[in-house]
Every structure is written in structure tokens, then in C-alpha cells.
Amino acid sequence: MASKTYKTSETVDFVVVGSGASGGIMARQLSRAGHSVVVMEQGPRMAPEDFEHDELKYRNLSGITNSPETNPQTFRSDPGKKAERVAGRNPLTYARIVGGSSAHFNANFWRLHEIDFIEGSRWGGIEGASLVDWPITYAELEPYYTMVEWEVGVSGLAGASPFDPWRSKPYPMPPLPVKSSGVLFEKGARKLGLHPFPAPMAINSTFYKNRPACAQCGLCGGFGCEVMAKSSSVWTVIPEAEATGRCEIRSESYVFRIGMNAAGRATGVHYFDSQKVEHFQNARAVVVCANGSETPKLLLNSATSAQPEGLANSSGKVGRYLMFNKGGGVQARFEHPLNEYKGANVTRILHDWYDADPKRGFYGGGGFDARSGGPLTWGQAVPEGTPLWGQGFKDYLASYTYWMTCSGHGTSLAQETNRVDIDPELKDAWGVPAIRVTYKDHPDDVKHAKWLVQRGIEIMDAAGAVQIDPGEVGAATGGVHLLGTCRMGNDPKTSVIDKYHRTHDVKNLFLCDGSSMVTSGRGQPTQTIEALSFRAADYINRFAKANEI
């Protein structure tokens, strides 16, 4: 069925900016409720057969991500210094296609735990950080986590981890088949008295919702899924939104400013089409789901005379509290081949260290997974002591199938000085003022990451590794989990959106993506972003019905 199309002169009920993890769900839920919806996506729409197993293009040449050539950013760790472009890459990376980063994610779907929502109260003040409670609890979000698992499609084994938060339903699909890295990880962790369990993944393990089971091609993170087994918005909720006959996905449409009227209401969005021709789409309300970097950029670039510091920014918090997920891990070699290039990337995880523990002497919690990577990415780095060239290096390349990665994923503390704002000079290929990133790790984040590396060494040693290559914990210079930059809260002075994702300052402007998150969680934010989107859409639909938008 051909997708519905709208004229820009038509005033649609909602413009949704972004078609990723959050935007796709928002579009489906709003259009299913009877609203007319236009989804604006910067990037192109790719068909299943357009995705290739091309590691050079996808992992090294910005094949489907924001390119530093056309979408440049600057970075600095010291707010007092001039930010500079980082050679050849962007600090903040996201997929720039229909489906957004849900198209190229690894598909690790971890729910937040109850503790994530109340760590401000639990820990009190941490010097240099803004660790506060969420305005919602796990109990309020739980039905929406379940909705994600059943509506979008997640495989896993409910109740397997003693550390899992409570849940109202099991996963709709059993876990994916274990691979050798999962077996070894489980063996080592169990030997240490830990509790590894089958990884919950947004990848079909069986035929589900008209999509096939995973083909186990081995290329998840960074790649699109050509068999549509990965539960990306482009294969799941977006076609369902279009099937309502009320939703248009407008690809290659780059929104650069939100339109405002004198009454302080959003009127639509200004955008460039694929030919860089400027248009304006009229809308009764705007929902920005553009990710934790592009959402604050759009608000800051939408300043008006009435809101000179950026739209919805009376708090001054737009763009602040940027968080990644700082982690640390190891690479380990075993006696026999694992063949990690085969099979979905992650099959076992553990959450024994999820909660922060004051006995460690610092704040920080995390989880571990056993994972794999493609040969091109793997071959570009060598362990300490391995020859960089010659027969010794060739021998190392020949050992590829004997290696696995044990990765720790953890917290990043919110800090007011870590932020996304607008570079005073740099513009992108459309002439739009570009993102400037200011970021410096909190000392506790670094301590925790180093602590994780030690735990990774122990697990791999217990698993019988013949060589362990500990990862270095360096200063963060960017990330792909883009969190916290338009935080949710009850107080308009300290937050950007309320608990229903409505901006405190503009009644018909809503935000929902990683930017809404108040704390970072432990490393896999996408399921939370999707649960927030289902919940936000629920409330937006209620507000619309009550004529309260």
C-alpha cells in the first residue's frame, strides 16, 4: 500500500521529527489513535536488500551514520577552551536513515531496574554530579516495557536472572541460540559464583509478527538487518504506522528549525528536502524524537526573540547533562575456535554488579556481556606486545576466530558542564549551525570503568582463556548512547520536559528520546527509550482527546 502523503500547506495533527527507536513508535501510536502524522527523517529510506555486509562502508566510512564530512561536530573536554573538529569522526554518532539508530543497533534490550529511577534519593549528593530521581518510577514504566517486548519483538528468558526487576509478562520469544562466547562467559562467571543468563535481544528467535527468525549472519552492531529479524523501527512500527493510512514517512527531510507564533505555540517545522530546498510543514503539534544530540541542537537552533536562549530552554538545561555509558572490558583468546563472526552478537549477559555499592568507594553500576565483532574492525587493533607487522602480525590475524570480547557497560553521571550546544562558527553542509560537544568524565565513572576491566579479566580467566587483553580506560571523547540532554522533571527550573514529555515552556511541543533520560542506566538504553515513547504517546493521545494540546 502506498504511504499517505500530505502537502506542506496542510496542517497535520502532528509532525514527528525522527524515525528511530522513539519516533517510529510515536508515529504508530499517534496515527493509530486517528491523528494525521508526518514523520521527518534526515536520512534516506533503505530497503532490506540495500543493506550490505560491508564492514568497511558501515563501520569505517559512515555508510549509514552522520558523516563528519556533511554533519560535522566539534569537541572539547574543557569548557574554557575552543572546541575543535576531531579528525575524521564525529563525537556523537547516530544512524541517519529511516529507522534511525534502531536500524543499526546491536539490539541489546535491557530494562532499567527499579533502582535506576531513585538513585538520587539513594545516593544523595555526589560532588560534581547531578544525580537525581526520575519523576516516574519503574512501576509506571513497566507496562510499557512489556509493550515494547510484545509489540516490537524481543527474545529472552524471563525470570532467569536473580537480579531482574519484576515483570508482568514473559518475553514473546525464547532466547537466541547461544554461541561460544556465551558458553565461555557463562562458564567463567558461574565459576565465580555469578549469575549469567540468556541475553534479551530485540532480534527474532522465531517467526514473529510477520518477520523471520535471525539468520545468524553475525553482523548486527553497525549494520542494518537485511532479513528484517532485528526489531528495528523500519521493519516494525513504521510499516504499521503507514498502514493506518494517516502517516507519511518523509525521508531525506532535514528539520532545522521549529516554527513558532507570537502566542508561543509551535506551528510546524522548517526543513530541507533532498535537494536542499527549504520547506515548512504546518502542524498542530510537534514531537521531537531526533536523539540526544539532534533534539537539543534543534531546540537551540530554534531560538526566537521571546525565547532567545533556545526553544523550551527557560531552565537553561537544554543540551546539558549529556551522558554516554562508560564501560570497560577485555578481549580474550581461547584454545579452540569460537567463530564469533557467526551468530547474533550477544547471547549471554550478567547483572550481578548492576547496583552501585558504596563499599567500592565510588558510585557506579554495570552489566557485562559476551560479544563479538567483525574481522575488519578486529584486525585494526592488536594486544600489547603483539607485533604490528611481519609474520607475528600475520599470525595474530590468523588467530581471529579464537578470540571473544567480554564487555562491561556502566553508568555515566550527569554533570551540568557536559553538554551539547551550538558551535559559534562551524556549520554543516546545509548551512545549519553545528553541534559542539563539551564532555569530561566524572572521576567515579573512570574508577568504575577500570573496576569493570578487572571483573572482565576475572571472568575470562575463570573461563580458561589462554590470553587476556585488558582494554584501556581512556577519557571519553564521544559516544553512541546519547542521553540526558533534555531531562525530564517536575520542576521547570531544573528540567526541560515534564513527566509526560511535554516541554515546560511550549504547550504543543513534546520531546521523547534518549535526551529525556534523567540517569544513564547501565549501558543499553534503547528499550527504555522505546518504553518512554509508548508511554509518552499514550499521554499525548489523552491530551489530544481532551483538547489539552
Binding site: Y171, P177, G343, G379, G390
Partner: protein
Amino acid sequence: MEQPIPSRRQFLAAVGNLASAGWLALNWPQIAAAAEPAHAGHHMDMGGEAAALAKSLTPAEAAEVEAIANQIVPGGATPGAREAGVIVFIDNALGSFFAGQAPAFRKGVAEFSAGWAAHSGSSTPFSKASEADQVAWLRQVDQTAFFSAVRRLTILGLIALPKYGGNKDMLGWKLMNVEDNHVWTPPFGYYDVDYPGFQPYPGTKPYTA
């Protein structure tokens, strides 16, 4: 999750200005154009012959670079960089998606050759020197940005898809014991063959839909 930190590991620490500014300054439209002839009509073709590959180096330059590449991943009992056609990849890369770096790279080749000539005291190019002499000289220059650049290009040329010019006959993948296939079924490796199934922990009750 953070992005990999460029200086994280030994290889990356060795990459100098040329390599970091060069090989990471990317140009997607150019690579798309370079890739198009090879995969038009057969998107999943990973082993097909490359077509319409770009050229950027003179034969003399290419000979020197290929000789260096073949010391980085030498031949012998199994094929090395030369047999895998790494130089075809490098030539193509510098003529297309890494074209912006070609001038600096070619300057690097010239400096390398001049350094070799001064060292050897003869007009015999590096590529014609003995194996032992090549290795000895590379040990003296393997911390330079140019060498790091050749090294990175060699690895990419060895492992990237053949449509970019290298990894001829999938020799790079064969070296790494990677089979060219898109669909796998368990068991995947040695350790999951006899996995007995997930055993629940005391006090837990795993359940399924």
C-alpha cells in the same frame, strides 16, 4: 556505549597525523560511487570481481607501497598482502574514498623512497632490495606516520570486501579462517557444540510465553 577511543590500543597509538587526519577523513558520496559498479544488480555479492576501480599511484609508487604492504602481511606458507591484491585496494582507496589524502600519501612515498636511497646509497628501489634489507629498513621507519598509513591501508585492503580491490579471492578472510557465507546455524564454534542448555539458579523460576 562510548565510541572506541582512537588511542586505545597499540596500533592506534602509533598512528600519526597523516593517518589520523587522512584515513578517517571520509567521503561517503565518493565511496558510494566507487562501490556502485560492483554491487549493482547483486547487492549481496561479496566475492565478485571489482569493477571500475580508481587509480591514484604511478607504477613506481605502487611498487614501493606494495613491497611495504607485503612486509606488513608477508607471504610464505600462506598468501600475503601481494597475493591478496592489497595494492589494488590502496590505489582505489586513494583515488576515491580517501582521495583527499592522496597528495599527502604520495609525498610520504617520495620521502620514504628518498630515505631508502640515502640509507642504501644506491638507485635500486626498495621494492627490488633483498628481503633482509627491506625488513631492516622498515624496522627503522615503522614508527613514522607514513608507515602507519600504509599499515592501516594494508589491513583494510586485506579484509574489506573484494569489490574495493583487495581481499582477492577472499584470501584475507581465508587467512583469518572466515568463511564467506551469510547464514549460519548452531553450533557456531567449538565451545557451543555440547552446551547442555541454561540451568536455572536456585530461587529463580524462568518462564516463557
